[in-house]
C-alpha cells in the first residue's frame, strides 16, 4: 500500500511539472521572478522626493500608524477602509501625478497590495511602491 502510494504520488508530482512549466513559460514576462515587486514599480526615497509636487504619497499602513506619523502630505489609503479613503484620495489625482505607496518596511505587503488595487481597480498609471517603506523614509529624513 505504502509503496503503491509513493509510486503513484511520484507520478503525479512529475506530471504536474509539465503544465506548470508551460504556464510559467506563458507568464515569463508577466511576473517578477526575483522580487515580489518588479524593479520598474519600485522607487527609492531619493527618487520620490525628487518628484516633489508631482508625487502623491499614499500611506497603506493602518489608521493608528498613520495618525501617529506619516510622510508630510500623504493620504491614508489602506484596505480596511478602502472605498471610503479611495473616494477621498481620487479627487487629488491627475494624470501628470506619480503615486508613491508605502507601508511600514520592506517586509510588509500592504503597499504592494494597495498599489496593485490602484492600478487594477482605480485604473491609475504611474503607481510606485516606496523601497524600504516608512522605515527607509524615517532613516533618510532624520
Amino acid at each position: 500500500m505504502k509503496l503503491v502510494a509513493v509510486r503513484e504520488g511520484l507520478i503525479l508530482i512529475a506530471l504536474a511539472c509539465l503544465p506548470a512549466v508551460g504556464e510559467g513559460f506563458y507568464f515569463r514576462d508577466k511576473i517578477s521572478w526575483r522580487s515580489p515587486i518588479p524593479a520598474s514599480e519600485l522607487v527609492t526615497v531619493d527618487q520620490a522626493k525628487a518628484w516633489a509636487d508631482s508625487a502623491l504619497w499614499v500611506d497603506a499602513r493602518p489608521d493608528d500608524e498613520f495618525a501617529h506619523d506619516h510622510v508630510p502630505g500623504a493620504f491614508s489609503l489602506n484596505e480596511d477602509r478602502w472605498s471610503e479613503q479611495l473616494a477621498q484620495f481620487l479627487p487629488n489625482w491627475s494624470p501628470d501625478k506619480k503615486v508613491v505607496v508605502y507601508c511600514s518596511a520592506e517586509s510588509c505587503n500592504a503597499a504592494r497590495d494597495v498599489a496593485k488595487r490602484l492600478r487594477d481597480e482605480a485604473q491609475l498609471k504611474d503607481v510606485f511602491v516606496l523601497n524600504g517603506g516608512w522605515e527607509e523614509w524615517v532613516k533618510k529624513n532624520r
Binding site: A5, G9, A20, G24, P36
Partner: protein
C-alpha cells in the same frame, strides 16, 4: 450503498481540489503573493510554487474523481492539507493577518477559524477515504 457513499466523498473532495487548483492556476501572480504573505519562503520559491501547486492539486483532485493513481493522489492532498493547516496556524501565532487564497476570491474574507474549519473538514474527509481504501485492500487481501 457503502461504496456509493465513499464514491460521493471522492467526488466532493476531488472536486474541491480541482476547483481550488483551477482558480489559482488562472491567477498565479495573485497566488504567489498569497504564498509570500505567509513570510516563510523566499519570493523565488513562492513564485515557482504558485505555478506548480495548482496543477498538482488539480491532478490529485482528478485522481480522486477518476480513481486513477488514487492512493498517490490521496496521500499528496492529505500532505498538502496538513501543510496548509500548519502554515495557517504558524501565521496566526506570528500575528500575520493573511488571506490564504485557497479558493480565490471566495476565501479572501474568511477569518482564521473559517479557514481552519474548511481545512480540518477536508482533512477528516481525506482520512475517512484513506481508511476506506485500507479496508478495501484488507478485504481484497483476505479473499485472495
Amino acid at each position: 450503498m457503502k461504496f456509493s457513499i465513499w464514491r460521493i466523498l471522492d467526488l466532493i473532495v476531488g472536486g474541491i481540489f480541482v476547483y481550488a487548483g483551477a482558480i489559482k492556476a488562472l491567477d498565479p501572480v495573485q497566488f504567489a503573493n498569497n504564498i509570500d504573505n505567509y513570510k516563510t519562503l523566499p519570493w523565488f520559491i513562492s513564485v515557482r510554487l504558485a505555478f506548480y501547486l495548482p496543477w498538482l492539486e488539480m491532478l490529485c483532485g482528478l485522481a480522486l474523481i477518476f480513481r486513477f493513481l488514487y492512493r498517490g493522489g490521496l496521500s499528496i492532498v492529505g500532505a498538502l492539507t496538513l501543510i496548509f493547516i500548519g502554515a495557517t496556524v504558524a501565521a496566526k501565532t506570528r500575528g500575520l493577518d493573511i488571506t490564504c487564497g485557497c479558493f480565490g476570491h471566495a476565501s479572501q474574507h474568511w477569518n482564521f477559524w473559517q479557514h481552519m474549519a474548511v481545512d480540518l473538514s477536508i482533512f477528516v474527509a481525506l482520512a475517512a477515504l484513506l481508511s476506506a481504501e485500507l479496508m478495501r485492500k484488507a478485504a481484497r487481501d483476505s479473499k485472495s
